[in-house]
C-alpha cells in the first residue's frame, strides 16, 4: 500500500508501506550503518525520530530476541530502499515487517533514500511525517501535521523513555559475541542513569564485575548517593540535553563525590553540568564509521554515533580536557575532568550496532572507580 514521507519544507518521498498503517510525525534523520537495524530500531535515542537507512537492503536477517537494545522499538518510523522479501539467518525468529506491525511502527520501502539523505544533508534534519495508507496521498494534511509539531528543540525526551523505578540489571555480555575479556568478582556498585539506556551498556558494565542499579532519569543526587555507588553512569538518550535540567542539576551535585562516566546524552549532560553549553548540529552524526582521535595519544578509533547535538567548543572551564575530537568535522567527542573524576564520550562505545573498538572506555571506567577505591 502507498506510503510517503513528507518533510516540513514540502518535499515528498513516496514509497510502499510495511509494518503498521497510519501516520506519525518525527524528526527525519539518516543513519549510515550497514548492519544492525534491529539494534537501531530499539535504541531509545531514536525516540521521536523517523530514521532513514542508507544501506539499501534491510530486513535480510529478520529479527530475533537477542539483539534488541531495549524493550521495544523507539523510532517513530523507518524508511528503507528495499525491504527484504525473505529472511535468512540462523537466529531469525520473525520478519522485520511483522516486528514493526506488532509494535505499531510505520515502515516505508522503495523510497529514494539517497535523494532524501542528500536533501537532509544540505538542508539539515527537519520535521516530517511518515504515512502508510490512504492518507499518504493527502500531502497537504501531512505537511500541516509536520509543521504543526514543535520539533525536538527544547524537548526533554529522556523523561519519556526512562524507566519508572530503579531496578538491578544482572545479565552480562554473551562472550560468544565479544572477544572482550570479562571479569568475575565484584568490583563495586554502579548507579546507571537511564535517559534511554541501551542493554549493551548494562551488559558491559555487569561483565566487568559491577553490580548495576538502573535508575530513572529524574533520580536526584541525594537519592543516588544514598545507594552508596562506587560510580555513576550517565546513559545515552534522545532529545535536547539542555531541556533535561533536573538531570544537569543532579549531575552537578554529584560531580567530584563519585567517579562518573557518560555516554552520548550523558556526555552532553555532563558537559552542561561542568558549565559548558550545547548546540544542535545541521544533520548530526548517525552511523558506524566515524573516526575519532585522541589528541593525547594520536590514536584514532572508528566509532558508532547517534547524536544531533554537541557540546560547544570553547564553552567549558579550563580544567576540563577535550579527550576526543571527530576527524570529519572537528566536533567534540570526549571530555575529562580529572579533578572531578569524571569523563564522557559523545559516541557509543557499547556498539550494538557497530564496531567494538571503543570498548576499552569501560575499562577506563573500571580503572577510575578502582583508583578512587584505592585512595579511600
Amino acid at each position: 500500500m502507498q506510503a510517503v514521507i513528507v518533510l516540513e519544507d514540502g518535499s515528498r518521498f513516496p514509497g510502499k508501506g510495511f509494518g503498521a498503517m497510519g501516520m506519525q510525525v518525527g524528526e527525519v534523520v539518516f543513519n549510515t550503518s550497514m548492519t544492525g537495524y534491529q539494534e537501531l530500531l530499539t535504541d531509545p535515542s531514536y525516540h521521536r525520530q523517523i530514521v532513514v537507512s542508507t544501506v539499501p537492503h534491510v530486513g535480510n536477517v529478520g529479527v530475533n530476541s537477542d539483539d534488541p537494545e531495549s524493550e521495544k522499538i523507539w523510532v517513530a518510523g523507518f524508511a528503507v530502499r528495499s525491504i527484504s522479501p525473505v529472511v535468512s539467518n540462523w537466529r531469525s525468529q520473525a520478519t522485520l515487517d511483522e516486528y514493526l506491525r506488532k509494535q505499531n511502527v510505520i515502515g516505508i520501502t522503495e523510497v529514494e533514500t539517497r535523494a532524501l539523505v542528500r536533501h537532509l544533508r544540505t538542508r539539515g534534519v527537519m520535521r516530517g511525517v511518515i504515512a502508510h495508507g490512504e492518507m499518504a496521498d493527502d500531502t497537504q494534511l501531512l505537511l500541516w501535521e509536520a509543521q504543526r509539531w514543535s520539533g525536538m528543540d527544547n524537548l526533554d525526551l529522556a523523561k519519556e523513555v526512562t524507566c519508572q523505578a530503579p531496578y538491578v540489571w544482572e545479565e552480562p555480555i554473551d562472550p560468544a559475541w565479544y572477544s572482550d575479556t570479562t571479569t568475575s568478582g565484584m568490583r563495586g556498585h554502579i548507579v546507571a542513569y537511564d535517559f534511554g539506556i541501551k542493554h549493551n551498556i548494562m551488559r558491559l558494565l555487569t561483565a566487568r564485575g559491577f553490580r548495576v542499579t538502573v535508575v530513572p532519569a529524574t533520580t536526584t543526587a541525594a537519592e543516588t548517593m544514598s545507594m552508596n555507588p562506587d560510580g555513576v553512569f550517565l546513559s545515552n538518550g534522545p532529545g535536547d540535553p539542555a531541556a533535561v535540567t533536573y538531570a544537569i542539576d543532579a549531575i552537578r551535585e554529584m560531580l567530584g563525590q563519585v567517579p562518573m562516566f557518560g555516554i552520548c546524552l550523558g556526555h552532553q549532560l555532563m558537559g552542561l553540568a561542568l558549565g559548558g553549553q550545547t548546540h544542535k548540529l545541521l544533520f548530526g552524526h548517525r552511523g558506524g564509521n566515524q573516526p575519532v582521535r585522541d589528541p593525547e595519544s594520536g590514536k584514532v578509533t572508528i566509532t558508532v554515533h547517534n547524536h544531533g547535538f554537541e557540546v560547544t567548543a570553547g564553552s567549558l572551564p579550563d580544567d576540563v580536557t577535550v579527550t576526543r575530537v571527530n576527524l570529519n568535522d572537528g566536533c567534540i567527542e570526549g571530555l575529562r575532568c580529572d579533578r572531578l573524576k569524571a569523563f564522557s564520550v559523545q559516541y557509543h562505545p557499547e556498539a550494538a550496532p557497530g564496531s567494538h573498538d571503543a570498548l576499552d572506555l569501560f575499562d577506563d571506567f573500571v580503572a577510575l572507580v578502582e583508583s578512587v577505591h584505592a585512595r579511600s
Partner: protein, 1080 residues
C-alpha cells in the same frame, strides 16, 4: 606521525605476467603505489617483467626494470640501485615470494634493504599455512583441522583421521594451484599426487572440509599507531569450496547480523595484530556455518590482492595507495580521503548501493579439461557492477560480461540436478532456468539447498524470474494499451529498469527490439540517472565524479560544459583481450587530458588502472553495451568517442553508437567495417593488389566443404568477428575438418571463414599510426613461432632478426598502402605471413593491438597517446612522428600460458589464442634477450643436462643442426627410436628412451624423475598425437622447458648459447632510452 625521512629510494616489485590468480589488479595497485611514493618525494625503483603494464611506463618510476622476476636479477638490481627499502606487498604472491627469497638468501641484509609494508616474519606467518594455523589457535580462534603431509601414504592416513571429504592444498602455490577436494580415497590419490608435485616443497595440507559454509572476506588496513579499519566486507554467493576468485561476490555483506559481522571484525583485528602486519592492507577470509553461525578462519593475505582492488573500486577507498603511504610512516588520519576531500582515510566506507562481481572464464579454449569450479581459481578476469539493489547490480554485471547474455535468464537451459549442485561457469544461468521452470512454492529453499546459495540471494533471483515471467505473457503494444487506459507508464518502466533489466532483455520478453524499448521508456521519462560512489553514503559531498547508473529520479552526474571525450574500455579481461587494451585506454586518457579535454572513461573491469577514479576526469562504472554507453552519451553529450583502444568490445558496438548519432572519433565506421568484415576486406585487398591466403566464406557445412575443394588442404577455419581466435582450427584432412564443423562451430547464420593455411610461414606483426595523409610504423615484430601459432601465443622479437630487407620494405609499403586506403586515423595493426617469397596479409585490426604497449616499451614512443591525439585531429607532422623508430638491441616478448592450471589441456600451440599474459626480455643480443624472456616466463633455460628430442619427419634434418649445437654445448641427447636412429646417422651420440606405449621407463618417467632438462617436441602435422599431448602436459606439470616448434627450438638454442658466452645483465628502460637519445 609524518612520513619517514630516513628512506630515499624504495624498490617496488610488480607481479610479472598476467596469469590465472594474478591479473592486472596488481598493475592497478602498483601504479597507485608508485604514484603515491613519488609524490612523497621518494625515488622509486620498479621491477616487473610484464611490458603490458602501465606501471612499467618509464614515467611511473625513476628506474624501471623490465627484467625477469628472479632472486638473481633482483640482486643485480639492488646492487646497482641501492634501495633503502623494499615494498613487497604490491606485486601479489610473486612479490612476496621474491622478497622472502631475498630475505632468506641474505641479499637484503647484504645491502641493508629494509622490508616495509610487511616484515619477513609477518609474511612468513601469514603464508605458511601451518604457522598461520598455530597463530590462529594461539589467539583462541578456530581454523579447519588439518595436517601437513609430504607423501601420498601420509595423506591417506591424515584423511582417514580427519574424515572425508577433505581439501588438499599445496604449500606455497599461487591461486590455490594444484589444490582440490577429495570425497573418497580414489579422489585423494589423484588430487594429493597432483598437489604434491605442484608444491615447490612437495608438501600439501590435508584439511577438514567446510564446503557449503558461507564465505566472507574482510579488507583491512592498519597503520603503525595500530589504527585499524575495515575498508570493505565481501560476501561470496558461491559457498566455501569455490575459490573467492571464482565466486560471484557481493558487497556489502547481506546475510549477517551486526553481531556476526562485528565478531568477524574483532577476529580480523586479533589476527592482523598476531601476524604482525603493522603497516598496510590485508585480506582475511572466513567461513561461517549457516546453521549456527560458527566461524572458521581460512587465510590471510598480508598484501593488496584481487579482492582489495575490487574493494577499492567498490568503495572508492584506494587501498593500494593508502597501503603505500602507511608503509612509509603516515598514519591513516594524516591521509585525506580524495573523494570527500574534507574527511581523512581513517574511516570505514559506508555503501548505499550494492556491488556485484562475476568472474569471467575462458574454458571454451581448453578442450578436455575439468571445468568445474573448486578451491583452485580458474577465472581469467572479472566484471563488477554497481546498482542500488542486488538485482540491479547483478543484471548489470551479467550485461558487462560480454558473453552474449543480457540479463538473468536471458538464455534458457534444460536443467538437470547436477547442473545446480556442481559449481561451474554456467551455474548462475542454470539457476535462472531452474527458477523459471520450477513453479512449486518452495523453489527458493530447494534451489538454495542444492546450490548452497544463501536463500536470500535465491529469493532475489526468483523474484527476477517471476517478473520476467509476467512480461513474457505481454507484447509491447499490449503494454502500451494497458497504461494508455490506466496510466502508470512511468511506474511500469521504472519498476523493471530499477530491477536492472536491460532494454535488450525487455525487448526479448516483450517480443520487440531494443530501440523500441528505449524509445518507449524514455517517452515516459524513464531514463538512466547517475549516482556517485562517495565512500560515505551521501553523508558528505563527493568531489570525485565516480558514477554508476540507476533508475531513481535524482541525478548527480552534473556534467560540465567543457570539451569532452569518452573513452570506451575493454570490459572484463579474457584471453585475447587483457591488460594491453587497458594500457591503451589509460594512455588515451592521459593524452587527451593533457590537450585540455575532459576525459570520460566507461569500463566495468574492477582490476584495471582505467577504472581508478583519478585516471580519467570522470569515471562511469558501466557495462560496455550499447544501452549503457548511450546512457552516458545522452547525459554527457561528448564531442567525441574513442572506440579504438578497448580492444574488440568497443568496436562491436561502434556501428550501433554511430547509428544512434554518437560522434565516433578516429578511424571511420566504414573503414572499421571493411577491416572487420571478411568479404569486404577480401575485395579491398584485391583492389590494393595485396596478396592474401586464398580464402572463402561459407555459411553452412556444405559451403565449407565446397570451398575447401577449391582451396585445398591444409585449411584454417574460423567464425568471423572474434578476438583471440575463438573457435579457430587448422585442418589437414577431411575428417578433422568435418569434426570441427560438427563440434566447434555454432551455425547461427554468421559466416565462417576458410583460408588456405600457409604452412611453415614466417609471421610478422606491425603496429602503425596513420592520420589520413601519412603512415608511420611504430614497430615490426617477427614471430618466433611460425604462422599458425596465434600471434598472441607466439614469442616475437623487435626488431626482426631473420627477415631480409627486401621483405621488410615490402611490409612497410603494404602497411602504408593499407593505412592510407582505409583512411586510418590512429592505431592499426597488421599481421603478415611470408611464404615462398610472397608476403601475405593475414588480417588488419583497425585499432590498438595487444603489442602496442610492448612496442612502446621498446621504442619509448607513446603510440596510444599519439593515436588519441590523432583522433582529435592532430597529424603525425604535428606530433613530430614521421619516421619508424630505430630499436637498439633486441626486445623479445614471450607469451605465458595457463596449462599448468588446466591439466588435460593440450599444450600444443595453435591458431587459437590461449595465453593469459606476456613478459619481455631485452638485451643487446637476440640470444640474451630471448633467454631473459624465457626465464621471465618461468621457462628456465638450462645450460647443461639432457635434452629430449622427438620431432616429426619433416623437422628431422633441421633438428640435427640444433642437436649438434646442444651436444657441443655439453648436453646429453636423448631420443626415441626414430629420431635417435636419425641423429646417430648424423654422427651424434644419443641415448635412447622408450616411447610411451612401449612400456616403462619411458620419456614421461624420465621427465618425472628429473632426468630431462629440455624438450624439443614437434608434433606431426595436425594429428592429435596422444604421445606428444602427454609429453607436453607432463612437461608443464614438472616445469621442464619445452618447445613445440622448430623455430622456437632454434631460438632456445641461441638463448642457451648466449648464456654460455656471457652472463645476463640488467638495464633500466630509462638508461636504455637515454643511451639511445630518447627522452623518457
Amino acid at each position: 606521525m609524518p612520513k619517514r625521512t630516513d628512506l630515499k629510494t624504495i624498490l617496488v616489485i610488480g607481479s610479472g605476467p598476467i596469469v590465472i590468480g594474478q591479473g592486472c589488479e596488481f598493475d592497478y595497485s602498483g601504479v597507485q603505489a608508485c604514484k603515491a611514493l613519488r609524490r612523497e618525494g621518494y625515488r622509486v625503483v620498479l621491477i616487473n617483467s610484464n611490458p603490458a603494464t602501465i606501471m612499467t611506463d618509464p614515467e611511473f618510476a625513476d628506474a624501471t626494470y623490465v627484467e625477469p622476476l628472479t632472486p638473481d636479477m633482483l640482486r643485480m638490481i639492488i646492487e646497482r640501485e641501492r634501495p633503502d627499502a623494499l615494498l613487497p606487498t604490491m606485486g601479489g604472491q610473486t612479490a612476496l615470494n621474491l622478497a622472502m627469497a631475498l630475505y632468506n638468501n641474505g641479499t637484503l641484509a647484504d645491502f641493508g634493504v629494509e622490508l616495509i609494508g610487511a616484515t619477513a616474519e609477518a609474511i612468513d606467518i601469514a603464508e605458511d599455512r601451518k604457522r598461520f594455523k598455530e597463530a590462529i589457535a594461539e589467539i583462541g580462534l578456530t581454523s579447519a583441522i588439518s595436517e601437513v603431509v609430504g607423501t601420498l601414504e601420509d595423506a591417506l592416513v591424515a584423511a582417514d583421521q580427519i574424515g572425508y571429504p577433505v581439501l588438499v592444498r599445496p604449500s606455497f602455490t599461487l591461486g590455490g594451484s594444484g589444490g582440490g577436494i577429495a570425497y573418497n580415497v580414489e579422489d585423494l590419490r589423484r588430487v594429493a599426487a597432483n598437489g604434491l608435485s605442484e608444491s615447490p616443497v612437495q608438501e600439501v595440507l590435508i584439511e577438514q572440509s567446510v564446503i557449503g559454509w558461507k564465505e566472507y572476506e574482510l579488507e583491512l588496513m592498519r597503520d603503525r599507531k595500530d589504527n585499524f579499519v575495515v575498508v570493505c566486507s565481501i560476501e561470496n554467493i558461491d559457498a566455501m569450496g569455490v575459490h573467492t576468485g571464482d565466486s560471484i561476490t557481493v558487497a556489502p555483506v547481506q546475510t549477517l547480523t551486526d553481531r556476526e559481522l562485528q565478531r568477524l571484525r574483532d577476529m580480523a583485528k586479533l589476527i592482523i595484530r598476531r601476524v604482525g602486519l603493522e603497516t598496510g592492507g590485508a585480506n582475511i577470509q572466513f567461513a561461517v556455518n549457516p546453521a549456527d553461525g560458527s566461524v572458521i578462519v581460512i587465510e590471510m593475505n598480508p598484501r593488496v590482492s584481487r579482492s582489495s582492488a575490487l574493494a577499492s573500486k567498490a568503495t572508492g577507498f584506494p587501498i593500494a595507495k593508502i597501503a603505500a603511504l602507511v608503509a612509509v610512516g603516515y598514519t591513516l588520519d594524516e591521509i585525506p580521503n580524495d573523494i570527500t576531500q574534507k574527511t581523512p582515510a581513517s574511516f570505514e566506507p559506508s555503501l548505499d548501493y550494492v556491488v556485484v562481481k562475476i568472474p569471467r572464464w575462458n574454458f571454451e579454449k581448453f578442450k578436455g579439461i575439468d571445468s568445474t569450479l573448486g578451491p583452485q581459481m580458474k577465472a581469467i578476469g572479472e566484471v563488477m557492477a554497481i546498482g542500488r539493489t542486488f538485482p540491479e547490480a547483478l543484471q548489470k554485471a551479467i550485461c558487462g560480461l560480454d558473453i552474449g547474455m543480457y540479463g538473468f535468464g536471458s538464455t534458457d537451459y534444460e536443467v538437470q540436478p547436477d547442473m545446480l549442485s556442481v559449481p561451474t561457469a554456467q551455474r548462475l544461468y542454470y539457476i535462472a532456468s531452474a527458477l523459471r521452470h520450477d513453479k512449486s512454492g518452495d523453489s527458493v529453499s530447494s534451489i538454495s539447498n542444492i546450490t548452497q546459495y544463501d536463500p536470500w540471494f535465491v529469493a532475489q533471483l526468483r523474484n527476477l524470474q517471476l517478473e520476467a515471467d509476467i512480461l513474457r505473457t505481454y507484447t509491447l503494444p499490449m503494454v502500451q494499451e494497458m497504461y494508455a487506459e490506466n496510466g502508470g507508464g512511468e511506474a511500469f518502466w521504472r519498476l523493471f529498469k530499477q530491477l536492472g533489466y536491460s532494454d535488450k532483455f525487455l525487448a526479448e520478453l516483450l517480443k520487440t527490439d531494443e530501440l523500441s524499448i528505449r524509445a518507449e521508456r524514455k517517452k515516459h521519462g524513464v531514463k538512466a540517472n547517475f549516482y556517485r560512489v562517495d565512500t560515505c553514503a551521501a553523508e558528505f559531498e563527493a568531489f570525485t565524479p565516480y558514477l554508476y547508473s540507476t533508475y531513481e529520479r535524482d541525478c548527480e552526474a552534473d556534467p560540465s560544459d567543457r570539451k569532452k571525450v569518452i573513452i570506451l574500455g575493454g570490459g572484463p579481461n579474457r584471453i585475447g583481450q587483457g591488460i594491453e587494451f587497458d594500457y591503451c585506454c589509460v594512455h588515451a586518457c592521459f593524452a587527451l587530458r593533457q590537450l585540455g579535454y575532459e576525459t570520460i572513461m566507461i569500463n566495468c573491469n574492477p582490476e584495471t588502472v582505467s577504472t581508478d577514479y583519478d585516471t580519467a576526469d570522470r569515471l562511469y562504472f558501466e557495462p560496455l553495451t550499447f544501452e549503457h554507453v548511450m546512457n552516458v552519451i545522452d547525459t554527457e553529450k561528448p564531442d567525441g568517442i574513442l572506440v579504438q583502444f578497448g580492444g574488440q568490445t568497443p568496436l562491436n558496438i561502434a556501428q550501433q553508437l554511430h547509428d544512434a548519432g554518437a560522434p565516433i572519433w578516429g578511424t571511420s565506421i566504414d573503414a572499421i567495417n571493411i577491416a572487420e568484415d571478411r568479404e569486404s576486406f577480401n575485395s579491398f585487398m584485391a583492389q590494393l593488389h595485396i596478396p592474401q591466403p586464398d580464402g572463402r566464406i561459407a555459411r553452412s557445412p556444405e559451403g565449407v566443404m565446397a570451398a575447401v575443394d577449391e582451396i585445398g588442404y591444409p585449411v584454417l577455419v574460423r567464425p568471423s568477428f572474434v578476438l583471440g581466435g575463438r573457435g579457430m582450427a587448422i585442418c589437414y584432412t577431411r575428417e578433422s575438418l568435418e569434426a570441427v564443423l560438427r563440434e566447434d562451430i555454432a551455425w547461427d547464420g554468421k559466416p565462417v571463414l576458410i583460408d588456405r593455411y600457409l604452412e611453415d610461414a614466417f609471421e610478422i606483426d606491425v603496429d602503425a599510426l596513420a592520420d589520413g595523409t601519412h603512415v608511420t610504423i611504430g614497430g615490426i615484430m617477427q614471430h618466433i613461432e611460425e604462422a599458425g601459432v596465434h600471434s598472441g601465443d607466439s614469442a616475437c622479437v623487435l626488431p626482426p632478426y631473420k627477415i631480409s630487407y627486401y621483405y621488410l620494405d615490402q611490409i612497410r609499403e603494404y602497411t602504408e598502402r593499407i593505412g592510407l586506403a582505409l583512411q586510418v586515423k590512429g592505431l592499426f595493426n597488421i599481421q603478415f605471413a611470408i611464404k615462398d617469397d610472397v608476403v601475405y596479409v593475414l588480417e588488419v585490426n583497425p585499432r590498438a593491438s595487444r603489442t602496442t604497449p610492448f612496442v612502446s616499451k621498446a621504442t619509448a614512443i607513446p603510440l596510444a597517446s599519439y593515436a588519441a591525439q590523432i583522433a582529435t585531429g592532430k597529424t603525425l607532422v604535428d606530433l613530430g612522428f614521421m619516421d619508424e623508430p630505430h630499436v637498439n638491441g633486441f626486445f623479445v616478448k614471450e607469451a605465458v600460458l595457463p596449462f599448468r592450471k588446466f591439466p588435460g589441456a593440450d599444450a600444443r600451440l595453435g591458431p587459437e589464442m590461449r595465453s593469459t599474459g606476456e613478459v619481455m626480455g631485452h638485451a643487446s643480443s637476440f640470444g640474451h634477450a630471448f633467454a631473459k624472456a624465457q626465464i621471465a616466463a618461468d621457462m628456465l633455460l638450462p645450460t647443461s643436462g639432457t635434452v629430449f628430442i622427438s620431432v616429426n619427419d619433416l623437422d628431422k634434418s633441421a633438428v640435427s643442426k640444433l642437436a649438434r649445437d646442444l651436444h657441443n654445448l655439453g648436453f646429453t641427447l636423448l631420443a626415441t627410436e626414430g629420431t635417435a636412429d636419425f641423429l646417430e646417422r648424423q654422427g651424434l651420440p644419443v641415448e635412447r628412451v622408450k616411447k610411451i606405449n612401449e612400456g616403462t621407463p619411458n620419456a614421461l618417467d624420465a621427465m618425472r624423475s628429473d632426468k630431462i632438462q629440455l624438450i624439443i617436441n614437434t608434433p606431426l602435422g595436425g594429428q592429435a598425437h596422444d604421445d606428444s599431448i602427454a609429453i607436453r602436459s607432463v612437461a608443464y606439470q614438472y616445469r621442464v622447458p619445452i618447445t613445440t616448434t622448430l623455430s622456437a627450438a632454434q631460438a632456445t638454442v641461441q638463448g642457451i648459447k648466449a648464456l654460455h658466452n656471457k652472463p645476463l645483465k640488467v638495464r633500466s628502460l630509462q638508461t636504455h632510452h637515454a643511451v639511445n637519445g630518447r627522452v623518457s
